[in-house]
Symmetry: C2
Subunit: 545 residues, 2 copies
């Protein structure tokens, strides 16, 4: 039976119909305990979901849906190391990466020895580099680190490194290069001293097109600048499950760090994929991040659904997506340091749950992952918030802020937070026609003018949002935050009955690109391609330098 | 009569029903001339919309809708300087800013003298600064420029400055600061020499909260570092329609540049709001950008709908949004230099057309602006493209690429373009069950394994996209590109019958923020606020340092 055919689903749908006329204003007016009963705390995180369009009853019905989907059992299966990534026949054990003690997942299948050993090797290397003891060309200390990776080998570490730049090594510059466009790598190289630069090549297969092309260009740049005396091994480290290929490329064996098939790219921040991050923030801060994630893992695994942050967050998403019909979810950090968080979440959610086939291979009969999008909230207010307020579209929003600033300036932080809270309040409660009229009458605006402007100044409100308030930006809290979203995605995948851990959707584009590339300069090879691609190639041939 | 009640609308809707079963594969198979008839060229821009789910017939019907909405007349009204921004009683004349000759819009109402004079003053100042003749503290030449502005006073210039960094002044650093969070301004200040730093404060009213707080902090930083000898006037310029306020702040009168009420923030890149950009790229490149935009203006104003780029692009958007039911539009630049283009478009489209009230104040009965979102495409492939390919959601995509690289590296550019073309082809044409089966059989995979994996490796296809291919990234082409999207937004606004040039949706949040701010430290003042805001403030009071 698909989940949509379950009595639990039908019960929620029936309940939804009672909601058509209920507005957030009414929900707040009718229940003085609403905020207390629709908010949760976890360590230094406060999660207020009282401005979602639901009640405790809604959440109870949604929790029943989670039970129907056997969430508790599926969670245990993940933590037990079962091969829940069925299409690829793999376990899903990113939680092992932040485990402080083993054996895990079991004494028969214990990944902790290699996890621990890798972490120790990473820490040893990172601390040596941070201390200026990792030597590049002719004994010059490495001072620039360039992470070359794309997707999960880029977004997580880059996001976290920016978030934690206030605690990063002041004399080291760590850069992230991902895409094929020379306009990313080339101008960066112009600013670097090759003698003191180390590249970390991050690719599970060590064949990722973007990453290998950038790595080759980096090696050529070293050769061109350092000449005969270049010792390639002094300038490369790698993270890969194909160590032989990395060694063949020129990476010293001792600086090839493993990545395992039980950790997916978008869940790999916690592994050696986070090496550049560890170099920036140090092994201790990296460990604090892991501890924060581990605390969230334990919370997720052991807390009843109704007080379980990832479960509640997931259920709210199911409600908005499958019952209220939202097709997107806006992520709006009111914190400069979380600038890359929306992009990170885009991958985490859309690559994990952007599927329309169930685990068993059946076509889905309900919507799955919404489109996740967003920008820094304060900037967004002066850009796209117009649509959130008056565009007539349902857009559930996640507001994220930190109470304490990591770069305090007089007067800034409280104004920032006031704007964050004000926007979610304005979205929820709006401004009625009579309120606009009253305020315009107070300003002594003429009746004609009031009549003319009134409809433009009304705010419908009833736009749902949650607010995640962190006490501060620090490694542990951010570790918890990321793990929270990871488990949210897992819970939604379980309820939808899809595999959140494969990504077959990346296959076809790669194959087609391999067919197109040779046709660039040889029109004869273009004949097998579709007419649009042929037209685009023909324009390129005319305009390429 | 609303547009949805027009015969033209009904005709499109009837036509749509004939499309339910027609797939892009069929459309390509049945028409060998498809690409030729569904693509357009303009200067160095090639626009291929053959992979949209429509035919020439569809476009003809949509063009009739534009006629029904009196697009030609509305366009002339804009160019004639009529007050088409009705709710604010203003003309809409950003096109004047790129006009090479006057009078304009008419000899009775000619804005060109002040436009030309301002541009000359900007050029004189920008070139003086570029030549090292603009002096800061004790005669040190200005070498760092910080643009302080938010929304339209930030996104456009920042986007264009990054896109054109390959032609920017090599010895000048131009920075953009927008949001309230000290984590943006504070770490930047740590890297600057106050003696050689100039701040440009950009705010129409000179009261924008974010901008004034950042400007005040900048002035304090100068005072703290340069002490008694500080001459504030040496370190500030301003762009504002309130010159007295800027002078009062400490900006020398000669460095206050005007902005007029007939240019909206999100259309103001072409005005003095682009001063920091002009400083970076020089007055000549800035002028080339204006000329590129002017060429698009003339194309838009004079070309029949069926060969008119902005009109065609707008009609495709109307088709996808109002007839196929797309709620979002993904913008996917395959070009690092266009990194900020999605954010820029987000404001341009969502703030302009994210309205649900018509010009006349009636509630809209159809969808308006979609949610515009996106990232660099090559990165996106390794992140959220999974959902585009297999998520089951209709997501029209704009692919944007340049044939020639502005930072060429061997092998990179063609691989980048091959990926761009491959993704749009894969989205359009997908991969059928029998194709997957065939390819797996060729790999000698067992029948059981084929049966198990088959559904996961199928790509539904039929995901519509357009590709905008520029010959290269240069000021003129980018000027045309931005003007293209500006006019697209205008056309859609005309068809929907909304005012694309006001933004009442930003009002309420500001007002609420002003009520919240004083309650930060005084719980007594929080009583009038909603319960959720009270809860958030109470958490803040507990955790603030």
């Amino acid at each position: 039976m698909t989940i949509t055919a379950s009595p639990a689903w039908a019960a929620i749908d029936a309940h939804r119909k009672t909601f058509a006329q209920t507005r957030l204003r009414d929900l707040f007016a009718s229940d003085a305990q609403r905020v207390g009963s629709l908010s949760l705390s976890f360590d230094d995180i406060f999660y207020d979901f009282s401005k979602q369009r639901l009640t405790r009853e809604t959440l109870g019905l949604l929790a029943a849906l989670a039970k129907e989907a056997k969430l508790a059992k599926q969670t245990e299966r993940m933590f037990a190391g079962e091969r829940i990534n069925a299409s690829e026949g793999r376990s899903v054990l990113h939680v092992a990466l932040r485990r402080s003690a083993g054996p895990f997942p079991s004494s028969q299948f214990d990944v902790m020895p290699e996890v621990t050993e890798t972490k120790q090797r990473m820490a040893e290397f990172a601390e040596r580099l941070r201390a200026g003891k990792c030597l590049g060309h002719k004994g010059a200390a490495i001072r620039n680190v360039v992470n070359i990776g794309i997707g999960g080998s880029d977004l997580g570490p880059k996001m976290m490194a920016y978030a934690l730049r206030s605690v990063s090594h002041p004399a080291l510059a760590v850069h992230y290069v991902s895409n094929l466009d020379g306009a990313q790598l080339a101008p960066l190289l112009q600013t670097l001293d090759p003698r003191t630069t180390l590249f970390i090549v991050v690719s599970k297969t060590f064949t990722t097109q973007e990453t290998m092309l950038n790595a080759n260009t980096a090696r050529e740049w070293l050769r061109a600048n350092l000449g005969e005396a270049l010792v390639v091994e002094n300038h490369f480290a790698a993270v890969s499950s194909k160590p032989e290929k990395a060694v063949e490329f020129g990476v010293p064996r001792g600086l090839v760090f493993p990545i395992w098939d039980w950790v997916g790219g978008r869940y790999s921040l916690w592994s050696a994929v986070g090496l550049a991050l560890m170099i920036a923030i140090g092994a201790q801060a990296f460990d604090e991040m892991l501890r924060g994630a581990e605390r969230m893992d334990e919370h997720f695994r052991t807390t009843p659904f109704e007080r379980n942050l990832p479960v509640i967050m997931a259920l709210i998403g199911i409600w908005n997506t499958n019952f209220l019909g939202a097709s997107t979810n806006a992520v709006l950090p009111y914190n400069e340091s979380l600038k890359y968080f929306p992009s990170f979440l885009q991958q985490l959610e859309m690559e994990s749950n952007g599927k329309s086939v169930s685990l068993g291979g059946e076509a889905m009969d309900c919507a799955t992952s919404p489109i996740v999008w967003g920008e820094l909230g304060n900037n967004g207010q002066h850009a796209f918030f117009q649509l959130l307020h008056q565009g007539g579209r349902l857009v559930p929003c996640d507001f994220i802020a930190a109470v304490r600033s990591d770069y305090p300036l007089p007067g800034h932080q409280e104004a920032l937070l006031a704007n964050c809270f004000a926007q979610s309040a304005a979205l929820a409660f709006g401004r009625t026609e009579s309120e606009v009229r009253l305020s315009m009458e107070k300003e002594a605006i003429s009746p004609q003018e009031i009549a003319r402007l009134l409809p433009h100044r009304v705010f419908a409100g009833n736009q749902p949002s949650s607010t995640l308030l962190l006490a501060s930006i620090n490694p542990g809290t951010l570790g918890s935050l990321i793990a929270l979203y990871e488990h949210k995605v897992f819970v939604q995948g379980v309820i939808w009955g899809i595999n959140s851990f494969d990504q077959w959707g990346v296959e076809l584009g790669k194959a087609v690109a391999n067919r197109i590339l040779p046709a660039f300069h040889d029109p004869d090879l273009a004949g097998v391609l579709d007419a649009s691609t042929q037209g685009l190639l023909s324009y390129c041939r005319k305009h390429i330098s």
